[in-house]
């Protein structure tokens, strides 16, 4: 049951991720990306990480993608207004994406042993467990992340301010 669900979600996630790239219409791309995010949230649920799954949906599907859709609809992008990309740019993009894939595969290779050593506890993804770990063991990274977010927020406000002269 769990394995079947895993295969189904993975298939859906990969297919819609491919469709994000292949779709001509940017609105379709965003909608496929939303499906991908839902599949990933499903994977989190399969791994018993309910909190992560729901936060993933709220933050990515519920907020970030809405803003994406908002901007794309407002700009009213279509084929005619799409800027023409030169071959050099396409070549550079392909190399960058290939390198990122190499890095990801490399990091996956390192995780093979970790899976064997730590069998996942049933309550590993619950809010209580996560909160305890986050506010004790990983307090410093957590605080640094929040400072980073605050800096980004201040930056956004500064950019959005009308210039006073």
């Amino acid at each position: 049951m769990t394995l079947n669900a895993f295969y189904f979600l993975s298939f859906l996630a990969i297919m819609s991720a491919i469709m994000v790239v292949l779709s001509k219409n940017p609105v379709y791309s965003v909608l496929y990306l939303i499906i991908t995010f839902f599949c990933i949230a499903g994977h989190y649920t399969l791994m018993n990480a309910q909190f992560l799954a729901i936060v993933h949906i709220i933050v990515y599907a519920g907020a970030i993608m809405v803003l994406f859709l908002y901007v794309i609809m407002l700009l009213n992008l279509n084929k005619e207004s799409e800027p023409h990309k030169s071959n050099v740019l396409k070549f550079a993009a392909t190399i960058c994406a290939g390198l990122i894939m190499l890095v990801l595969i490399g990091s996956l290779k390192g995780t093979e042993n970790m899976l064997q050593q730590q069998p996942a506890a049933a309550d590993i993804g619950l809010v209580k467990t996560l909160g305890k770990v986050m506010f004790t063991e990983f307090l410093l990274p957590f605080e640094i992340t929040s400072v980073l977010l605050l800096a980004a927020m201040v930056g956004a406000v500064m950019l959005g301010k009308p210039e006073s002269r």
């Binding site: 609105v27 909608l31 939303i34 309910q50 909190f51 729901i54 936060v55 949906i57 709220i58 599907a61 519920g62 907020a63 809405v66 803003l67 859709l69 908002y70 609809m73 407002l74 619950l126 809010v127």
Partner: protein
């Protein structure tokens, strides 16, 4: 296992049915309340006091001509109302509709699923609820629809933040995210076991939450997405027949669900005063509790309508100012206050 499945299926089916029924009769109630507030009679032709009006309206919607604009994106045009309806129905599984029923030696909970991230799930459903409106508005290929959709998304994202912050104060106080546990914590009340509903401890949080609930449901005074003086009909300008019906219906379902969430979070859910002093057995109390919960929900639905027919619409910049400059700072202040009081009382 099969018995468990059957019981859950019955529960899901009845929640689904009741939601649709309440939403249908909310449309009737809305017209009656409007009539009452404006000193009119309201619908009174279909059946005694017009109680078959929702049936007549539904029939009319189904028999009307279905128009899909030629320039629209057909798939997304149909998907829009479907999504609006789907996301509206989704939050109902989390609401504890009553306490447990004990039949034989089996304990049956009247809540479909008590997730341990309960409130966050409701929040997630609310946040994806905007897609129905956005997709429908964009797919119509009409400037008014698009403007309505963009207004709706900006409004919902802005008010989600304040809503989330107001819930955080409640979570600090209750120490749980599960709606079932939050309901159970408010048991008792006036009588032998002294206990207060959350609204007594969180008046400011409740105020922020209900204002945000109005904005999330696109109800007056925040119904800017369908502001007919500026946008013809807003995001559903191009819709006709039952697809328009779905959009309008989804609004009433949202209203019902948010009334249920408000009752559960702040007004004790299925609990009522003197519930443990009556000396009745557990099942009877549970059934009365469910009836009481529906009473509370009805009151909040009435409250939604009352506001609608009393207060005029905000201007869009006023709406944004209220959301970002008043509600969010207030909600943050409320979190600080709650945290401070919690530490002092410890």
């Amino acid at each position: 296992m099969s018995e468990f499945l059957i019981y859950k299926l019955i529960l899901v089916g009845s929640v689904f049915g009741i939601t649709l029924f309440v939403a249908a009769y909310s449309t009737y109630a809305e017209r009656k309340v409007a009539a009452f507030l404006q000193d009119r009679v309201g619908p009174d032709r279909a059946g005694p006091f017009g109680i078959f009006q929702p049936l007549a309206d539904g029939m009319k919607f189904i028999y009307k001509e279905e128009i899909i604009p030629v320039v629209s994106n057909k798939f997304l045009f149909v998907l829009g109302p479907c999504l609006a309806m789907l996301t509206a129905m989704m939050a109902g599984v989390l609401i504890p509709w009553g306490n447990t029923l004990i039949i034989g030696d089996q304990v049956y909970s009247l809540q479909i699923a008590d997730l341990n991230v309960g409130i966050l799930y409701v929040f997630g459903v609310v946040s994806i609820g905007v897609y129905g409106i956005m997709i429908g508005g964009w797919a119509s290929n009409n400037k008014f629809s698009l403007l309505g959709a963009i207004r709706a998304s900006a409004q919902m994202i802005s008010y989600e933040i304040a809503m989330g912050l107001s819930i955080i104060a409640l979570i600090i106080m209750t120490g749980t995210l599960s709606l079932g546990e939050i309901s159970a914590q408010q048991a008792g009340g006036v009588g032998g076991d002294w206990n207060m509903w959350n609204v007594v401890y969180q008046p400011l949080g409740f105020l922020i939450f209900i204002v945000c609930a109005f904005a999330e449901c696109n109800r007056t005074p925040f119904d800017l997405p369908e502001c007919e003086t500026e946008l013809v009909g807003g995001y559903h300008t191009e819709y006709s027949s039952m697809k328009l019906g779905f959009y309008l219906f989804a609004e009433y379902i949202n209203m019902f669900v948010s009334s249920a969430v408000i009752s559960t979070l702040y007004f004790g859910g299925y609990n009522f005063p003197f519930m443990n002093d009556l000396g009745l057995d557990h099942n009877t109390i549970s059934i009365i509790g469910t009836v009481v919960l529906f009473g509370k929900i009805s009151f909040f639905i009435f409250f939604f309508m009352w506001i609608r027919w009393t207060i005029p619409r905000f201007r869009y910049d006023q709406l944004m100012n209220l959301g970002w400059k008043i509600l969010i700072p207030l909600a943050v202040f409320n979190i600080f206050l709650t945290g401070l009081v919690m530490i002092l009382l410890k």
